[in-house]
């Protein structure tokens, strides 16, 4: 029985979560025979380098409509491939688009979908809830198991199998499949480092005291060439825009270091900074939950500690 992986790519370059999903799918035990070459599905262009990751066959959907993103059109291509290939498992990245496309697939076929899995075996999956603060072990009752893979749940592993075969097809799209598609684009003004990509994030919670209280946070972030983040409480108070919010319903960040000041470590917030390589927490409360997730801690009031760090950086840079 085959394993099918839906690959997202940008101009032929597969996204990291897709490659993670591929690695995940390869380890998926199907009828006790893991490690067989897997099938990949892509739309538009054949993604590069999939042979290095154990893909034997690439199913390439080609259609004029793929010039702009239309989730149902992608989903229709997946559905056709499922019907042709009859895989036992269909895997996609648990990314925003991966989850969207797979939800369309599941709705079209009226099949269950397990989103954001971290492990799976047969029809038993372990998936995340609460942005990763809780795990759910579940059984998928279906002949074909649809699932998406939580980003960063597995590391990409190579498994060269040679150049994959490419099977091209033109999906039979319905008008409804194209009813929702990107019709326009608004480019954002480039205003510094984006939070999601920043190497350094400096954030603060309600302890900053006010919108003005973020002056010292902005100052430190600027000195470090990093981005400013904040907690949900801060956004809800209207002190910072939602784009600065780190958390389950804000931005998920993955910096080299995350300097979290005056943030206690609520599950909603920690779900957004799990990707940080190091966490430095500054808090007046030595027993704040964040210290259990942090690498370094400073006990103290952010309004005193943060300016002191800025001053020290200036001193060091000046020397």
């Amino acid at each position: 029985m085959a394993v099918l992986v839906v690959i997202e790519h940008v101009d032929g370059e597969p996204t990291e979560p897709s490659l993670q999903a591929l690695t995940f799918a390869r380890g998926y035990a199907v009828d006790g025979a893991p490690g067989e070459p897997v099938h990949a599905l892509a739309v538009g262009l054949a993604p590069r380098g999939l042979g290095e990751l154990g893909v034997g066959t690439v199913h390439l959907a080609e259609h004029d409509a793929f010039g702009s993103y239309a989730p149902a059109a992608v989903a229709r291509s997946v559905v056709e491939t499922i019907q042709r290939l009859a895989p036992s498992v269909v895997v996609a990245a648990g990314s925003e688009l991966g989850n969207e496309v797979m939800a369309h697939v599941a709705a079209m076929l009226d099949l269950p979908l397990a989103a954001n899995c971290i492990s799976a075996s047969g029809d038993e999956v372990t998936r995340i809830r609460w942005g990763g603060s809780l795990l759910e072990e579940a059984t998928v009752h279906s002949d074909v198991v649809l699932l998406t893979v939580q980003p960063h749940a597995v590391a990409i592993e190579k498994a060269p199998v040679g150049e994959p075969a490419v099977e091209r097809f033109t999906p039979d799209l319905l008008p409804a499949d194209l009813a929702v598609r990107v019709t326009d684009r608004v480019e954002a003004a480039a205003d510094g480092v984006s939070l999601a990509d920043a190497k350094i994030v400096v954030s603060a919670g309600r302890g900053a005291g006010s919108a003005e209280g973020f002056g010292i946070i902005e100052e430190l972030a600027a000195l470090l060439g990093g981005a400013v983040g904040c907690s949900r409480a801060v956004t809800m108070s209207g002190w910072r825009p939602h784009t600065d919010q780190v958390g389950q319903t804000g931005t998920k960040i993955a910096p080299e270091i995350y300097i979290a000041s005056g943030i206690s470590g609520a599950t909603q917030h920690m779900a957004g900074c799990k990707g940080a390589k190091k966490i430095l927490a500054i808090n007046t409360d030595p027993d704040a939950p964040i210290f259990a997730s942090a690498d370094y801690g400073v006990i103290g009031d952010l309004r005193e500690v943060v300016p002191a760090i800025s001053a020290e950086i200036r001193r060091v840079k000046g020397a």
Binding site: T126, L135, Y296
Partner: protein, 251 residues
């Protein structure tokens, strides 16, 4: 225009999640309840759209009897009435949930121009109920939306993507799942709270479709086992912090 917003009652968790002994649910004895953050923005958006375009804002939930509390919260913000699909408190899987919601929308009879969902619930995070409801109703569906405007029988939706925003223009009626950041939701006012007490809630008990994504148990992930290295107390810790930044190579 008539707008339906679907919301889910979820516990307000703190720093730690504690499970019930049977590992089937979160221990909520000491927790308050709310709706998912994305849905708060959905309710706010619905109220704003009705304020701007007229019509009626309706809120729907599928959940236990206690979820009436969340319906009243939404009506305190401005929803005019509520539809309550009452369950016994067991969580329904996405397919069952979507089927019940679609049936309820049919049954209500209102021609909703817009049906709003949160992109995913705060607790289960299945990312699919909105899309399934759209398919059941034969409506177009847009996901992950952070900007909505309505004009000329169309809804214009904006979705963040690669540092910019993709735009979708979809004819009404449509289903839209939204993300926090769409707007800054208001807090209910006291007059709003008082009005909410007497707004109508239509409660019914829908049949439950068999669960095909069946939970076996919940598990609290093992902690990272970290014990933060305390660099110091107060401003005196600054030199150590800078040393660490230098070690990591960020200075």
């Amino acid at each position: 225009m008539n707008i339906l917003t679907c919301v889910k009652r979820v516990p307000m968790t703190g720093g730690t999640i504690v499970l019930t002994a049977d590992e089937q649910a979160i221990e909520t004895r000491h927790l308050g309840f709310t709706i998912s953050p994305h849905e708060e923005c959905g309710i706010e958006e619905a109220v704003r759209l009705v304020e701007a375009h007229g019509g009626e804002s309706v809120v729907l939930t599928l959940g236990p009897a206690e979820a009436e509390e969340q319906l009243r919260d939404c009506m305190a913000i401005g929803a005019a009435r509520a539809i309550h699909l009452v369950t016994d408190g067991e969580e329904w899987d996405p397919q069952a949930t979507a089927a019940a919601i679609a049936a309820a929308i049919h049954a209500d009879g209102t021609a909703f121009d817009l049906i709003l969902f949160g992109n995913e619930s705060a607790d289960a995070g299945n990312y699919q109920v909105a899309i399934r409801v759209a398919y059941a109703l034969g409506l177009p569906v847009v996901s992950g939306i952070k900007g909505i405007s309505v004009a000329d029988g169309q809804v214009r939706c904006e979705r963040e993507s690669n540092g910019g925003r993709d735009v979708y223009e979809v004819p009404l009626p449509a289903v839209v799942s939204v993300l926090e950041g769409l707007n800054l939701p208001r807090y209910p006012s006291v007059p709003g709270r008082m009005r909410a007490k007497s707004k109508p809630v239509a409660a019914s008990t829908p049949p439950r479709r068999e669960s095909r994504l069946a939970r076996r148990r919940l598990v609290v992930p093992a902690g990272q086992g970290k014990q933060a290295e305390i660099l110091g107390h107060g401003p005196d810790a600054a030199p150590r912090v800078v040393e660490i930044l230098q070690q990591i190579g960020l200075l």
